[in-house]
Symmetry: C2
């Protein structure tokens, strides 16, 4: 009840849509500046989404269609929010027709979301949503936000990535700036690529070269960095964020060495990692989720907010969370860099670009460039259509639609009901776009047949939002109930013993990505990072 | 507050110790017969212990002395309730002197605990407290009550133990009664032992033959059963309980086949397993813990009791839980079977005995035999002293004391404070036994130096209890907060879809071991099983 009364106050544009924008902004800003009020409203907002459905454990996973000890305990399988669909698959539209719904005709820009936001979203979610490439029912992650992007997925790999002294991650300096080490050993120009012996076993070499880097021009492969995840060099976004977080790790480790000169490498490293994971969580809640949120309110990472809550249960990423996060439509066809137009295809497999321009410039310029708008008919061609050089590989969107089908998800309206939003009665409720209504009707016949993955991207939403109601609710539910349950945030753990006093101060003072960029920059005053394009 | 008012009412003997026993029994019995009252009091009792200390996650494990991502997430290491001791180890008494404290001088019987209780305790705890034999900082279990005693510790092993049809576990009939299959293939008398090819890889053959079965007479080895755990044939207790639960599994599976003739093997098996795990949980809470409990009250497995509670957090067994459960003093020197005296050493490695007498007889006779009393100076010699045939192997109690030392636990009084009981001021507070006070004082000098593992066994307790205050509190805390969090008990899972209607009825009707024995017996009226000797 309190939620229903308070939240609309924070989203006045939804109700007073005709008022000029600054007025409600100021109101939310004022409440947000009173610490007690900010904390209270943050708690209410978090719980609104966290309690949108019954808490975990959920009875089913992709391991099978009935409840078993495996479905209740084997977290190598993706969870699922709802039981599988009982509708006959032959009555669904052809996969290619569904993929076609995503193909961009005319690019639609976002209202105020930056390309940096899209970079962050990809980099962030790659750490816990990692579909197993041999068995897509499985998720290779540990379901925790653990910064495996820079630390690797297990202790053995973490050790490869460490310097071995003073708690540092291994690094090199290029033009006076710090970067991860290169993954491949030096070679004759055009020669075969082998891992630097130090990184032997960090990733599967065959898979990396033949699949992930298949379209990467050969001369760019020498600058692939040794980082935690196989996809860590796939886009400029992944690369700049890996470099940035490596620098912040080493910056903090060097401060801890000064404070605790007698500590061994392991303790310095582990304590720095504790701090780093919480820094990431702060940015995720206070900047990233705040930007996604349907109201302009500075949500706070309220200390111990999960402590008393019934939704504080063992994390287990659902297949729906994995799928709904595929915001390919955020990617514009082109962007502007150094006043020149650049195809966004150039953002892929391009570490030389980052080494050449430096991460500060890349982050600053892409923080001022708009992403495009999340929704149907707005995914760039290079993610919908197959690469002309590799026609046997399904495109990104083809793989996604196929996975959605394999998971046999219940329809869009079933999820609306499950998440307390009520079923829609007609295609006109879903979208005001008459042409799209007709296409959808010709594909599905009835609004109750619309597939969940299509519906969440078809749903209209007002200018000031980033996505429709169901997607907002589901992403917020899964994010809050799995980020805020991080063991580092628990009452017995979140303290100076875990972080040191210095570390706790760094945590307390950090609220946005810009701060991390600035303190690792040679020109802190010019550093700029933002998820919002003003 | 409610707890403090209500619980003493249920333990009237503590306050009205001089009244004859039946009177308070009747009072507790009456409250226990009013369903609403029983449920309320059970909930209060469970929460009293569950909230005795702050909930998980705990910051440390045996992985290291400071908080790290590993200590927060790597559950292969045993957890720990308190940080390591800072006392210099050289000031502690010699390990042999501590072991000597446990050696029985004159056998002290328990008040009313049966030997069947001791069997059950060993069999039950072997499933989640399994110290890794190569790295004692680790626990090989998944921290869940999963009936791995009969199902094995992973899916691969489970499949070996299954019949492959109708949801059954593999079994054989001997003299018309059902038993697990034998682990070893038939051999020439005295010949070398090899696993039946079906069970290849179920256990480590070298370890089983050279370590676990090292003292087992050769002719008894042919009747080792193929069961889930390596120690599953080590005592008559383990064997009879494995046989009993296998029979109950197959009995239920056969009922489900009748009800759901179209179901495949997997679904029948998994559904039966779901039911079986909850049957075990019911017996554990309603019979076993009720018997341990400090008040004579029929605690109920209240549906969804953990649902709203802050202690409902991911399970993680602590090293203290592992150690405090070593109730070796429950074992008398001898027992009576078929009116003849029998050394309890004969309870070890003796499947032929079970095959010969049948499990009904064994369970019934050992349910009428008293265990001995938990405490110092009451462990039988064969668990304190080394086996004369294998002098290089430390005894059971030697290994325990050594593990306690390796874990560097804080003293007894530190744990009393942590669990809200307050420190004791003197050795006289610990025990009225003046000789023991003197021995303890000569070993430790000060009550504050007494080691935790020694203190919990030294503590006096009244006749109607089974153990001292600190051990009761710690075992109840760890048991309730890790048994009642079982995913099968969660609101979204505990229903007819998970168990079937038939299965749910079996669950609802089962409250004690005797019922399971009776319904699997050829003479149900004569079946008898009890944790209490009247």
């Amino acid at each position: 009840m309190l939620t229903d009364t308070l939240l609309p106050l924070l989203d006045p544009r939804r109700h007073l849509g005709r008022l000029p924008r600054p007025i409600p902004w100021i109101a939310a800003g004022l409440i947000g500046r009173i610490p007690q009020a900010r904390r209270l409203v943050s708690r209410i907002a978090i719980n609104k989404y966290a309690y949108a459905v019954a808490p975990r454990p959920r009875p089913l996973t992709l391991a099978g269609d009935y409840t078993s000890w495996k479905s209740l305990t084997d977290r190598t399988y993706s969870g699922r929010h709802l039981p599988p669909s009982t509708a006959p698959p032959e009555e669904l539209p052809a996969e290619q027709d569904v993929v076609a719904l995503f193909r961009r005709s005319e690019e639609i820009p976002s209202t105020d979301t930056s390309l940096m936001f899209a970079f962050f979203a990809q980099w962030f979610t790659d750490s816990f949503l990692r579909t197993n490439r041999l068995d897509p029912r499985k998720n290779d992650s540990n379901h925790e936000i653990d910064l495996c992007q820079i630390y690797g997925v297990n202790e053995h790999k973490t050790n490869m990535l460490r310097a071995g002294h003073e708690g540092l991650l291994d690094s090199q300096f290029v033009n006076g700036e710090e970067f991860p080490k290169f993954l491949f050993a030096e070679r004759e120009p055009g020669g075969e690529l082998f891992f630097d012996p130090k990184f032997e076993g960090l990733h599967d070499r065959e898979y990396l070269l033949n699949t992930i880097l298949r379209a990467c021009p050969d001369e760019r492969k020498d600058s692939v960095f040794a980082v935690g995840l196989e996809h860590g060099n796939s886009t400029i976004g992944n690369t700049v964020l890996n470099v940035l977080f490596l620098r912040e790790h080493n910056r903090i480790a060097r401060r801890l060495v000064q404070q605790y000169p007698k500590w061994e490498d392991d303790r310095l490293f582990e304590t720095t990692r504790n701090i780093m994971i919480v820094l990431l969580l702060k940015i995720v809640v206070e900047e990233y989720i705040t930007h996604i949120g349907p109201f302009d309110f500075p949500i706070e990472l309220v200390p111990f907010v999960a402590e008393e809550e019934r939704w504080n249960r063992t994390n287990w990423c659902a297949i729906e969370f994995n799928l709904l996060y595929r915001w390919h439509s955020l990617i514009p066809d082109s962007t502007v860099f150094d006043s020149k137009r650049m195809s966004t295809r150039e953002l892929v497999d391009n570490n030389p670009f980052v080494l050449d321009r430096g991460i500060d410039t890349v982050i600053a310029q892409f923080s001022r460039q708009k992403a495009s708008k999340i929704g149907l008919r707005n995914t760039p061609a290079f993610l919908v259509d197959r690469h002309p050089g590799f026609p046997a590989y399904p495109s990104v969107e083809e793989r996604t639609v196929h996975l959605m089908r394999e998971a046999r998800l219940r329809p869009y309206n079933a999820y609306r009901k499950e998440f307390g939003l009520g079923a829609l009665a007609s295609f006109a409720d879903l979208t005001k776009d008459v042409a799209l209504q007709k296409t959808m009707e010709s594909l599905y016949g009835d609004i109750d047949n619309v597939e969940w993955y299509v519906g969440i991207f078809a749903e209209d939403y007002p200018e000031h939002r980033m996505m429709g109601n169901l997607m907002t609710t589901m992403v917020a539910h899964d994010a809050f109930t799995q980020a805020l349950t991080n063991p580092l945030l628990a009452r017995r753990v979140y303290n100076d013993r875990t972080f040191t006093k210095v570390g706790k101060e760094i945590i307390d003072q950090t609220h946005c990505l810009q701060q991390i960029v600035a303190r690792n920059s040679q020109n802190p005053r010019e550093a700029y990072a933002s998820f919002r394009v003003e």
